[in-house]
């Protein structure tokens, strides 16, 4: 490298000055870009700055019950009439379940009461804090007589494969499932869950990406 440099003709002082200035401009541009992108991300996600957000993928003020909807029930193929029918039950089943459960909306409401403040953190780069109320998963496991298990597959009523098939189920490992704040949420920010947010119940767990917080829960398979 050094030899190569020595072969180059020497720059005039004016050229050297120009090269140094050009380098400073480049570094300045990188620093400015980084600052602009950092501000763009912060303004999209930090409450006090949201009014300055020009490139957010979601906004709290354009939302349902204070939380933006990613996939609407209509697109997921979930019908309100189906989940309101008396036949609809959320089942707790699987090889590790001695006493399978089948719970209707009223059964879930009777068991509800645990509250937690947890965000929906979407892999698309937005995060919105929310207050949830519902039934802790570990209470359901205790009621079903589950003593030992490896993981839980949470399945959704979602039928359609668009926009992502990943939304139709989530895998909860043991530690996640037993966390006191992991629950089947029935209320969001004090209101009954909207159908677009996963009515009658959606999974809410700490430290899970939004894509794994399964909506319209149909079944918990404990393995």
């Amino acid at each position: 490298m050094k030899e190569h440099d020595e072969e180059l003709p020497p720059l005039s002082p004016e050229d050297e000055e120009e090269v140094a200035r050009s380098r400073r401009w480049m570094l300045g541009a990188v620093a400015t870009s980084s600052a602009m992108l950092a501000f763009s991300f912060l303004s999209a996600n930090v409450g006090a700055l949201t009014r300055f957000a020009l490139l957010p993928s979601r906004r709290k003020d354009i939302s349902t019950a204070g939380l933006p909807v990613q996939t609407r029930a209509e697109l997921a193929g979930v019908e309100l009439a189906h989940v309101l029918s008396p036949d609809f039950k959320i089942r707790v089943v699987g090889s590790a379940v001695p006493r399978p459960l089948a719970l209707g909306i009223a059964d879930l409401r009777a068991r509800s009461g645990h509250r937690a403040a947890l965000p929906i953190s979407c892999v698309q780069g937005w995060s919105v804090a929310a207050s949830w109320e519902g039934v802790p998963i570990r209470d359901l496991l205790a009621e079903a007589g589950v003593r030992d298990f490896n993981h839980i597959i949470v399945t959704s009523l979602q039928k359609t494969m668009r926009p992502q098939a990943m939304f139709t189920s989530a895998r909860l490992n043991r530690a996640h499932a037993l966390d006191p704040d992991t629950m089947l949420a029935l209320k969001l920010n004090g209101e009954t869950l909207h159908i677009n947010h996963g009515f009658p119940a959606r999974l809410i767990a700490p430290n899970q990406p939004g894509i794994m917080q399964t909506k319209w829960v149909d079944q918990l398979e404990v393995v």
Partner: protein, 150 residues
């Protein structure tokens, strides 16, 4: 600490830390294969690398070379503008494309802003300032050239 000698180790230490982080990611990728789909992830990463090396990098080099043909006062200024615009555009692409081809028609909670307008509001002032700086540099250079003894 022996000054320069200690600093020379820094790149190796940073590479070591980077390798540890990569290894941690790889272990996580393989341990949770049902969720991470390692084969698809590998295909995606290869595609990203190829896009970077075969499309983005040559494009940046060609544009960089073209900017050397600009008047000296404007070269660095235009390059700075292009770097800033490129970075901002990458972030805005999601929104701009989402408005061209709606993911969920009627769902105004997805991509709620008008992103082409946002892009203009961000990059308009940036280019205006850079243009003024370029003009000032050009005038200063012309002044210096005129003042130089012949």
């Amino acid at each position: 600490m022996s000054g320069a000698g200690e600093w020379r180790r820094l790149p190796r230490v940073l590479v070591g830390i980077g390798c540890c982080v990569l290894l941690y990611g790889l272990v996580g990728l393989l341990r949770h294969a049902a969720v991470t789909t390692p084969v698809w992830t590998a295909v995606r990463w290869i595609l990203i690398l190829m896009t970077n090396d075969l499309v983005l990098m040559p494009l940046v080099i060609v544009v960089g070379v073209l900017t050397t043909r600009l008047p000296r006062a404007f070269g660095p200024v235009v390059r700075a503008g292009l770097i800033i615009s490129g970075c901002v555009f990458i972030v805005a692409t999601w929104g701009v494309i989402g408005q061209i081809r709606e993911v969920q028609p009627g769902n105004n909670e997805i991509l709620p802003n008008h992103y082409p307008t946002s892009l203009a509001l961000i990059l308009g002032p940036v280019w205006a300032v850079l243009l003024l700086v370029g003009l000032a540099r050009s005038r200063r250079k012309a002044g210096k050239a005129a003042a130089r003894p012949r």
